[in-house]
Symmetry: C2
DNA sequence: GCCGATCGTCCAGCATACTGAACAGATGGC
DNA sequence: GCCATCTGTTCAGTATGCTGGACGATCGGC
């Protein structure tokens, strides 16, 4: 019927959900998030999703009633309840709370931009950010997703997976997303880099996400079984990544990971001397 | 100019949703947000919502597939996609972006905690926060909701409503939520305070939300028709609210409101020399 | 001002998502 | 150890939400 434009996406959605309205609602929210800022009407949404117009209208009205979307004129945009639920989610992640506290205690890293992210498939979702002294004018990018293969957080997380899990995620992958000329373009290059990460103890994004910017990342294990690994990173301009400063930042990242790895220890004992 | 004729079909909200699965999904998310941090199984959710267990299970599985909830063991908790969508919503609100920029330019207020919130019914949803120099250890409460009647933002927003709209929101209300001994407890007290706010030009929360903490708030008009009014506030310890400092903060709030009220002026002209 | 195109909404019939009960595994009390 | 009581999951039947088409309203082009 509809032009078979998106093979993978529609296949995944085609697997019969026992609550199709909910699955479709998710697709609608995704679509609205992509084109955030501008409202979309039922017709446009139906066209882009390849679904009946009436169904979309019904779902959108239901979403509007619960506040997940808001009506703008005759169209729909993301609603304010998403801020509420997103905040509740972040508050429910213990690692986020401790991250903010721990960042301020870092001797060197507290002056830099430190971020916390969680691995999800082959993407990292950024959950928290500590803004250092640098006047970065980045607005809160919490919730942003980036390919794991071009970020220090992502590579730190991927390097920590057991081989089977990693193979599963990379299965069938041919090209990796490329954001800068330095981005790793092939699975082989990625695997080689991950081996380096394992030996070195931390991951590095050397202008692979943004030119002129480097990141260092370490893995932080999840707490709930089955919860994807987290990772923390420190971001700085390449010019500031001096031979003096980097080792201090790496040490800070390890401190941060130590603190976040074992919530009990962080709560009860001040800090273990060292390892 | 169109004043957005209030749709009379507000009463039609009683009719059941045409996409019940979506409405129920919203109820599930609300419930999970209330008890954030601990997972809830299908049985518990079904019991608390008074809905069939199977239906809840189906919806939860669909929610888990799209990432709005995550499985923790055998139960469900809020999922990471909520952070993504919440971030996308905040990014889509122009006022949020400008708020962060404008806060840094405030001569006095930039050192304090400044917040942006939007009115929704009789509650304020906090959308953005500028952390001043004070080492407040509050973690990001973005997305948090507070009663409008106990907050400076809320009273500033309520005072700006036209009388009909205000009456509609207060209709049938007997007791107001009380968080401290200073909280306004009655609708009459609230109306009197709102009159003061209108005359004075700004709202004040004098230990009505938290003891020892005062807030000053000003209204910021919404941009889209039908969009609830926003409000900005500056929070500080009561001891710091000196007769010297407060007028400066009020002036800063007015500057902030000026800047956020007219996006075009903020974008095109640097600043009107009126101040 | 007219017309064509496209929009959002409404409605009835059919397919299907929802329901209730039965199922097996996990848990705690005694 | 056993049983009582939970849990989450499965399955078939039926009510019901979904679908496609028609409707009136709106916008832009000629």
């Amino acid at each position: 019927m509809t032009q078979t434009a998106q093979p993978a996406d529609l296949e995944a959605a085609d697997i019969e959900s026992l609550a199709p309205a909910v699955t479709r609602a998710g697709a609608i929210l995704d679509l609205l998030a992509e084109n955030a800022g501008s409202a979309a009407g039922p017709s446009e949404l139906a066209r882009r999703l390849g679904l009946p117009k009436s169904s979309i209208a019904n779902i959108c009205n239901a979403l509007a009633e619960i506040g997940l979307v808001r009506r703008i004129g005759t169209g729909f945009a993301l609603g304010r309840k998403l801020a509420e639920l997103g905040g509740a989610y972040l508050a429910s992640v213990d690692a986020v709370q401790e991250f903010y506290e721990a960042c301020r205690l870092l001797p060197t890293g507290s002056e830099e931009t430190v971020q916390l992210a969680i691995l999800d498939g082959l993407e990292m979702t950024y959950l928290a950010r500590h803004d250092g002294l640098q006047p970065v004018r980045l607005t809160s990018q919490i919730g942003r997703r980036l390919p794991a293969t071009v970020t220090a957080t992502g590579k730190a997380a991927l390097a920590s997976l057991d081989p089977d899990d990693l193979d599963r995620r990379l299965d069938g992958l041919v090209d990796l997303p490329v954001l800068t000329p330095n981005s790793l373009g092939s699975v082989d290059a990625l695997r080689a880099d991950l081996a380096t990460v394992r030996g070195r103890g931390y991951a590095m994004d050397d202008e692979e996400t943004v030119e002129g910017v480097v990141c260092f990342g370490v893995m932080i294990p999840g707490r709930q079984p089955g919860e994807g690994p987290y990772a923390a990173s420190i971001t700085l301009l390449k010019a500031r990544a001096t031979d003096e400063r980097v080792p201090l930042l790496i040490a800070d990242l390890n401190r941060l990971a130590d603190r976040l790895s074992d919530p009990l220890r962080a709560d009860r004992t001040p800090r273990r001397p060292s390892a």
